[in-house]
Symmetry: C2
Subunit: 299 residues, 2 copies
């Protein structure tokens, strides 16, 4: 396990550097017009973040014989979609969060109008990067990724999950309702990140099926651990508000199952994720490390 941890750390460092450089380069520079917007977009995206989605996209491309660099536009598109969703979720009308990655949220640093429009611009830019992917990848594969990503984000994906999350505040959580929210709110985009890398790399249908299982399982584990950390961590450690789920009466794993059982469910999901990779060779090791990383986050 120590070897794994060291390998994971050096892998994450290298990939994080690649992703940061690419994001830095893709994001617009502030010029005379439009005022504020490019700066706000950079503020929302740069300087913090684990870049889990781009790194998963690259690791999945590696597992299927490609690498991160050729899928970078798509990897960054996924990060921009994640960033857009955070900017909107933090708004006063939604989660009303003031702290994100240890900095004031976009609506606090600018204002509500700018936060709404910054989210919109990041969302649009994500699809601009998907179009850019077609400069080096067959258009058919890019279209497949476009369909996958839009489904992961829309009414039956991330946004639908966020709606149910908000509407469930204060009501008694059910395992069914919780699974609905978590599969969509976080799980859908994590799954799309893994499958996008594989599709762009030309994965076989068998590989895609295995990675579907893998990504659904780690998405679930990731959200369970997020719920746990919201309950047990501190704002200093986490860089964002904690105990906020409890204060809002949100449906969470710890609330429904208790902390110990929640950890057990996360561990079970990770075991399943690792098993799904049985037919992959050592090029899938980064995906294996990333699965374990899900459980290692600041326990």
């Amino acid at each position: 396990m120590d070897t794994t941890l060291a390998q994971l750390q050096s892998y994450l460092e290298a990939r994080l550097g690649q992703v940061e450089r690419a994001l830095e380069q893709y994001l617009p520079i502030q010029t005379e017009r439009p005022r504020q917007l490019p700066s706000a977009m950079r503020y929302a995206v740069l300087g913090g973040g684990k870049r889990l989605r781009p790194i998963l996209c690259g690791a999945s491309a590696e597992a299927c014989g490609a690498s991160l660099e050729p899928v970078m536009p798509t990897a960054c598109a996924l990060e921009l979609i994640h960033a857009f969703s955070l900017v909107h979720d933090d708004l006063p009308a939604l989660d009303n969060d003031t702290l994100r990655r240890g900095k004031p949220t976009v609506w606090c640093a600018y204002n509500e109008a700018m936060a709404i429009l910054t989210g919109d611009a990041l969302f649009a830019m994500a699809f601009e990067l998907l179009a850019k992917q077609a400069e080096t990848t067959p258009a058919e594969r890019v279209i497949q990724v476009l369909a996958l990503v839009t489904q992961a984000v829309g009414v039956d994906g991330m946004v639908g999950g966020q709606v149910e999350d908000i509407l469930s505040e204060g009501s008694e959580p059910t395992p069914d309702g919780l699974a609905y929210i978590h599969l969509r709110k976080t799980g859908a985009l994590i799954r799309a990140s893994v499958l996008a890398g594989a599709i762009l790399a030309g994965a076989t249908p068998e590989q895609l099926r295995a990675l579907d299982t893998y990504s659904t399982a780690i998405g679930l584990a990731f959200q369970i651990v997020d719920d746990i950390l919201n309950e047990t961590s501190t704002p200093e450690t986490l860089g964002k508000a904690t105990q906020s789920d409890r204060n809002r009466g949100k449906a969470t794993y710890p609330r429904l199952f208790g902390l110990d059982e929640s950890w057990r469910q996360a561990e079970t999901a990770i075991r399943e994720a690792l098993q799904s990779l049985a037919d992959f060779d050592e090029r899938a090791n980064p995906l294996r490390w990333l699965a374990q990383y899900t459980l290692l986050r600041q326990r």
Copy 2:
């Protein structure tokens, strides 16, 4: 002119019916989960609207030898992007509008959180429909449209224009600043609608250049007339607030040039639009009627 008007009216009626049926069919039906969101999406899109962008997309496809039906997913995607922008622009933090197409705006009918997320879901669904376009159109053309549309919407398009519009409130308008806002806030998506239909229909580079001129000109005329109607119409006629630009100190054509000179500029733009179609045959007549329609709106 009377013949033109009659032809335009029967053309618009037929196309409007086709677009309404398609939107009705594409939009998600409200089921158990997610609660409210599919209903709110339908509320935002259905029951009103001129459908100018989808109709322009179809008319442009016709001018290049195709028709509306084969480009319908893209045509409806453009309408969803328009609808998304209206839902967000109406929010209290932005234009704070309560009336749209004679009905309460989405944030009034639901609430702010639902309006933000409904806009996001419509935006995501627009790109889902672009992916769907590839079921019947070569993927390369769809990617070209994706690049075009995302640029029209993002930081240097619609959203950037909206940011400048908001930041310019209350300051002295300049012709330069006004042109920046109008070219992007309304013009960019109108241009993209016309060019998208042409690209999907396999237009030649010469046709695309002519339609670029056409669409930029009618986009400008459309926004000038919008500004004029905001100044001179009534909420009863227009179905949304009037005099709101003046009350907010927004940069508008009437404010900068006066009503008469604004009309003259709109008419000049429409003449330019018609001239740009000189090399097209009678299949471009709908585009010609639509250019004239821009000036006919409730003068």
